[in-house]
């Protein structure tokens, strides 16, 4: 098990390196040279500064040396200096990261639990009329742009019904419990809209996976032993049906973060997704490209966590 986890972590390293290289290629093929790329959007930087930056990046050196310098900078946590925010890029991103993680993790946990439970209960009565209706509804939800669903949700729940706040993460001037209560109120709508598409996907997938598992011989054995329905469905059925689901959840990480960018933009949620939108708006290319790197690493981390969760669920890997 430990060996399996270590192996997974080791596999993730070249992936991160590959993404760093892709970033390097993007910067170097962008219009203008990397320095003009870095100061993009800001006021015109002094010639002295540009000359200094050129020397620092080793632009006079061969390309592979530049790549090594770039990788070295990233390993030291130096993503450059944003002239729009007037601060180091890493600082700006680190400050905003918590809000995005709060939104995505909450959304993920809620959709995973509700989706799986809905899927299991649908698998108990497959091909019924409700089941068919749910299938159609899932397809519909899956085809809608999530940012539009967010706008409609604001129109219904915030403007018409006035039960949720419209924008932001918390009301100002609160602390302690009151602050967190306010965050929770602000979090509900974006987290649910972000999760809706995946809720549709997970409920359909867990239904299909359960139908497959419940046909197996060991389920018949469990019924024959006289287990009650709960034990058969959840202990014998769901544990096995979870395996393909965990793999899909890992793949979905990148869509989860892509959705976060759009949802944060609609709800003015102060995370790195909204930061990406703002950076596009003011043409801070350095920030856009750094956020690409951060989101890619988050995606790889999500896949890694799914791999490890898989190992915990599957005793065939656990006892190896």
């Amino acid at each position: 098990m430990i060996r399996y986890i270590i192996k997974r972590i080791l596999i993730a390293i070249p992936l991160v390196l590959a993404i760093v290289c892709v970033n390097f290629v993007i910067i170097h093929s962008a219009p203008g040279d990397p320095v003009s790329f870095m100061v993009s959007g800001g006021e015109i930087a002094s010639a002295q500064f540009i000359a200094m930056k050129r020397a620092e990046l080793g632009l006079d050196k061969p390309l592979y040396a530049q790549l090594l310098i770039y990788i070295g900078n990233i390993l030291r946590g130096d993503l450059g200096y944003s002239f729009i925010f007037n601060r180091p890029v890493v600082q700006v991103i680190a400050e905003r990261l918590k809000a995005t993680l709060l939104l995505t993790v909450t959304s993920f946990v809620v959709t995973a639990i509700v989706g799986i439970l809905a899927g299991v209960s649908a698998s108990k009565r497959p091909y019924s009329r409700t089941d068919a209706a749910f299938t159609m509804a899932a397809l519909g939800v899956y085809s809608m742009p999530d940012f539009w669903v967010g706008m409609i949700a604001i129109l219904i729940f915030s403007v018409r019904l006035k039960i949720t706040p419209i924008f932001g993460m918390a009301d100002v001037g609160l602390s302690g419990w009151e602050y967190w209560a306010s965050v929770l109120k602000h979090l509900a709508l974006p987290a649910i809209t972000l999760g809706l598409a995946r809720l549709a996907l997970y409920s359909r997938l867990s239904r299909a996976s359960m139908l497959e598992v419940m046909r197996q011989d060991y389920i018949t054995t469990a019924w024959a032993k006289g287990c009650d329905e709960r034990t058969v469905f959840y202990k014998h059925g769901l544990r096995n049906a979870m395996l393909p689901l965990v793999t899909v959840m890992g793949f979905q990480t990148s869509f989860l973060f892509a959705g976060a960018v759009l949802i944060e933009t609609v709800f003015a949620w102060p995370g790195i997704g909204r930061l990406l939108y703002d950076s596009i708006f003011v043409r801070d290319y350095l920030m856009v490209q750094s956020l690409f790197l951060v989101f890619s690493i988050l995606t790889i981390a999500g896949n890694l966590i799914a791999d490890i969760a898989y190992a915990f669920l599957d005793p065939r890997i656990r006892y190896k």
Binding site: L139, G140, F257, T265, V266
Partner: protein, 305 residues
Amino acid sequence: MTSTNTSQIESRTQKAKRSLRIQAKALVEFWGRYRKNRAAVFGLSMVIAFALIALLAPLLAQYSPFEMHLQDFTRIYLSPDEQYLMGTDQFGRDVFSRIIWGARVSLFVGFVSAGISAAVGVSLGSIAGYYGGIVDNAVMRFVDMFLTIPQFFLILTIVAIFGSSLWNVMVVIGLTIWPSTARLIRAEFLSFKEKEFVQAARSVGAGDRHLMFKEIAPNAIFPAVVNGSLQVGSAILTESALSFLGLGDPNQVSWGYMLNDAMGSFIRAWWMSVFPGLMISLVVISFNLLGDGLNDALNPYLKER
């Protein structure tokens, strides 16, 4: 001499006629299976309807989708009525006319992106599946590497840095989403190249090109057709998301861009957000239903299990 020539020509036309009859019969059978799925028929008719709207946009739209009326305060933020069916936006433009013109951009992006993706995916997938060995390994490792980069962020970053013209958007989307097609086609080629009819053709001396194009491809292409239909939908969604984030072509009317316009004011003018999003959803649902229907109709054995 002449008589044998004419008889040869005759037999050739007969052959062509016969193969045409077989194709027509296959098409009729295919349609017979397809129309059994009511949702799929709905999807197909919606796709045709959207295509007609896109083609006839200049006739259907009453107002210019671009012309602004900033000075005329009686024309901005009008709620839907008989004159402006879907209201007007903050620049006094008719939302209904923009919706109609927007169908063009959406369908265009969808088809071109899915077409690029199919071209790349089918060629790489068939080469990998047919030749196998080192070629297969190289292509598939590349695909695996490619898939670890989050697609949406790759598209977004490239479009943000290299410019967001319509062509850029379409090409970047197309060049990013092909791996799924390549995988499907590779799997088909791998299994078909061992089938008896391909082996038979090979044993009578058919070359690689004949085997790939004439023997395997006609059988292996169906998953790419189904996937292509689904990719049209997902390309439309991606384009609308990019435009929504401000990375659309400012010279085009796009539903996603309309939602971007609406962001500041949809709370006071609901029609600015409701209609464009509804259209995106409808188009994407239609292509997804079409894809599902094609899948069921092209794989009759799968269905009758």
